[in-house]
Subunit: 601 residues, 2 copies
Amino acid sequence: MPDYKAPLRDLRFVREELLGYAAHYQSLPACRDATPDVVEAILEEGARFCEEVLAPLNRVGDREGCRWSEAGVTTPSGFREAYRRYVEGGWSSLAHAPEYGGQGLPESLGMAVTEMVGSANWAWGMYPGLSQGAMNTLSAHGTAEQKATYLTRLISGEWTGTMCLTEPHCGTDLGLLRTRAEPRDDGSYRISGSKMFISAGEHDLAENIVHIVLARLPDAPPGTRGISLFIVPKFLPGEGGGLGRRNGVRCGSIEEKMGIHGNATCVLNFDDATGFLIGPPHKGLACMFTFMNTARLGTALQGLAHAEAAFQGAVRYARERLQMRALSGPKAPELPADPIIVHPDVRRLLLTIKAFAEGNRALLYFAAQQVDIARYGEDEQQRQTAEALLAFLTPIAKAFMTETGFEAASHGLQVFGGHGYIREWGMEQNLRDSRIAMLYEGTTGVQALDLLGRKVLMTQGEALKGFTRIVHRFCQAHRANAALREFVEPLAQLNREWGELTLQIGMKALQDREEVGAAAVDYLMYSGYACLAYFWADMARLAAEKLAAGSGEAAFYRAKLQTARFYYARVLPRTRGHVAAMLSGAGNLMEMAAEEFDLGA
Amino acid sequence: MPDYKAPLRDLRFVREELLGYAAHYQSLPACRDATPDVVEAILEEGARFCEEVLAPLNRVGDREGCRWSEAGVTTPSGFREAYRRYVEGGWSSLAHAPEYGGQGLPESLGMAVTEMVGSANWAWGMYPGLSQGAMNTLSAHGTAEQKATYLTRLISGEWTGTMCLTEPHCGTDLGLLRTRAEPRDDGSYRISGSKMFISAGEHDLAENIVHIVLARLPDAPPGTRGISLFIVPKFLPGEGGGLGRRNGVRCGSIEEKMGIHGNATCVLNFDDATGFLIGPPHKGLACMFTFMNTARLGTALQGLAHAEAAFQGAVRYARERLQMRALSGPKAPELPADPIIVHPDVRRLLLTIKAFAEGNRALLYFAAQQVDIARYGEDEQQRQTAEALLAFLTPIAKAFMTETGFEAASHGLQVFGGHGYIREWGMEQNLRDSRIAMLYEGTTGVQALDLLGRKVLMTQGEALKGFTRIVHRFCQAHRANAALREFVEPLAQLNREWGELTLQIGMKALQDREEVGAAAVDYLMYSGYACLAYFWADMARLAAEKLAAGSGEAAFYRAKLQTARFYYARVLPRTRGHVAAMLSGAGNLMEMAAEEFDLGA
């Protein structure tokens, strides 16, 4: 991977100038400590840590990978030391509750740091990243004692956490899970079973690992209504806050994967391990859904991270690599050939990556504001509105950002020509690492069903209206502005169409439930392009205002305006294909008999 | 990789039923030996070899990779033995001239074998595959003596060959190349320089390697007009047909790559190596262009190979993996969950792969017929028509088939959920292996410029008309057929639009040459979708006829018809996005100053 440079200017543009984060934080009493000075200091300090400590370990992690032995998992060289510095720097406690040792800063600020961490070194970032799920579970559903014992140490970074959901025969379909939890007389539970695909499930970065495990009680009803949550620490808490005895959870092996080699993906065997129930019995899945949105935004972020990395690598290479002359005549006659950035198709690749990276950044921090409001808002109505908007945007962000992140990573590799395929340049690692994001935390197909089925259709379209209303207001406010007509007119049209499509699919779904699944992914991708159309229009609006006001950073704002134009001209028209596909009906998918798919052999 | 099963039924469908290969071979006197019996025997024998010998080595090659030492390159376990059996089986000599030991069978039949070889094990297939370039060069431009010495041994498979074009500073831009060739008194040349990315450049499969090297003579004009071709064998030919002394070409290292690990990608250092001029001085590039089309079809084939492998793996998994119930109610109530093939989005993925694999197969074997006619046609007019059609279809096939092959490989992985990301299942190898195909033999961008600039616009659209005329005739012939209306009407419309788009871009290009590069990739992808629309319509026509005639293989033909419908409903509408993008003009790509792309840091 080429060196990472944190996009601090763009973060400021999106957060402060576009989304008014300073005012946003001041409007939420719990966020008032996040003054502009504090935010700026954290982002700059975070940028330095990511650029200097994490980015240089990105390739090391890929090459060395993790090593398994009976004794445990060894992470790549430098990972331990980086984690120590991360903890020392207080990064693990940033956005967590002060009563458990956190700094009480907003979740959205934590996400900005996570963006930089993830762009610099995604595999490393997953170790502290996975702790988030455990911390969220404990915050929301733990007893005071559980919080005092586990949450404080997760926040301090002394311990890390995991989420143990998947089993060999069940990923998406958690109703099938078999791990058992039998009550003991002392109030604890005996946990037995096998989990797989547990990211950061075993490692040498911290002295203890707190596994949050989904399992069934003996009297559990079948299916998803019979799942409970348990805390299963690697080492049981000992007397006086120290570590007690080793618990019966072992890492049986780690997976060989396409990428993210620096992160250990573990098979965890629970063999009469001691666990502690968290939350009410049989309500484990419901408990997890309370913070599913934040977890999924954390994965959405991965798409942004790989797009950013692809962009940085590809732009630099495109300016340096000399190959062929521009079709319209030499642009650098003093050199043996022109830098490839003169070629329109190289620019098409670069601008596609740029449009996704910067557009997705706007989407992410807009969603992150809703996280803040849903969590810290003082007014119930305000919290509910934010929660609804977040529920709608989360599956879009998760699936669209990871799909376009993978696409961006592939374009970044393409700019390098044959060199892109070689390890040395890091672009192929970026592509390999990016591919997982469309799978874990719910595949694109699962996100799409969540969006169209649960979120949009089950609310009779209300969830959609929460967002299209915002777009509509934007279009109304700027419809008389001739300079913005190229954006506002197509956006208004798209916004209307979005509602009409929803209605049409909803009507068909009444006749045939399969229509939902048949339209879902095209509907989701359409929604993603539509969201970015709104954010690019708003970014263009802001850039035009800055330029009109004679900003001293004309080049920066001009590039925003040009990228918005590129997006509308060359990316947004992909919606036409999605519209046709989603309206084409379930028939063309469902007619073929399962055994007739492959009669060609 | 899951086990490979050669798609013999589908090959028969495309070659015999759709494209009438039996009559095609009988119409060309040089191909008359390829009787239906001979063809069938070769395909069956080839299928067995690929399934039993090559496919089991596919994963071995990925895991072990090649090992470099001073002494040379060691290929993965089993590769040598497989190559020995390949040579013994006579596979290397199949489609080559009898006067040099070949079997004289048609090139298009060789391609069918190559499809199976490549689908079973692409990395292995590249060793004999690269020999093709050397054989083509020698056939077309070698002296009788050069043919007797080198061509015969390449055809027999005793020796293999390479094409040495790329240097560290030049890939696409061969005009920059620096390798020098100085004449010696004995008529040979002293070759000095360094080549990179030389596939199969060094290995242990054969006793000698014949490198075809691009280099400059001392009096060479600069640029592409000063490049000559040389034969540089690893071992010089000795007395009596044996091996002589080791020549001054050494493999300095092999690349670490994203995939195709079983194939050695070499840096070759030529240190006063002895070379022999082939073809006229300074005409090396022109000589190579004479068989560029065949070489590029060989790479197009890689897209097909990975799509086929993705399809076979994904369908099998989708029928076995149980997860969730169908939205419309349980389909396998006796099982704990339904097989995932019941879910519409899984079917969407499978059918997308299937539509690409089978559609691209039709495109490939149609192009392969033009290769036969261009080579063996007895009538000059007929040869020229085929050559023109081939010139038009080749960049489309190379770029579109490899882009959609990569997409298909990614969908195949997606069907496996998280398991797709794990080595064990082979789907991630398929994706990694597929990524190179969009880069080598000319990137997608290069193919697109070749198509739109050189082929279409430089012939005033004549090259396009050669194909649209065929489509037009098809539409005319079937316009009254109500059963085919769903295909013929949109196809006719698309065919008209294709010409109109070409005209519009051509007009714009007169004003600004950059318009060609700005439209090229979208134009190429549009052309690819349009080509497949024709082939899918024709396949639907044939399937409908077979069904109407009461074929005993109704399921097979029904699946063809259903896949055609899927393609028209859900894939072909992507053309709408490409149309908008290609007509949007060069401005949205060219306006941004090179230094203003990345001001976000």
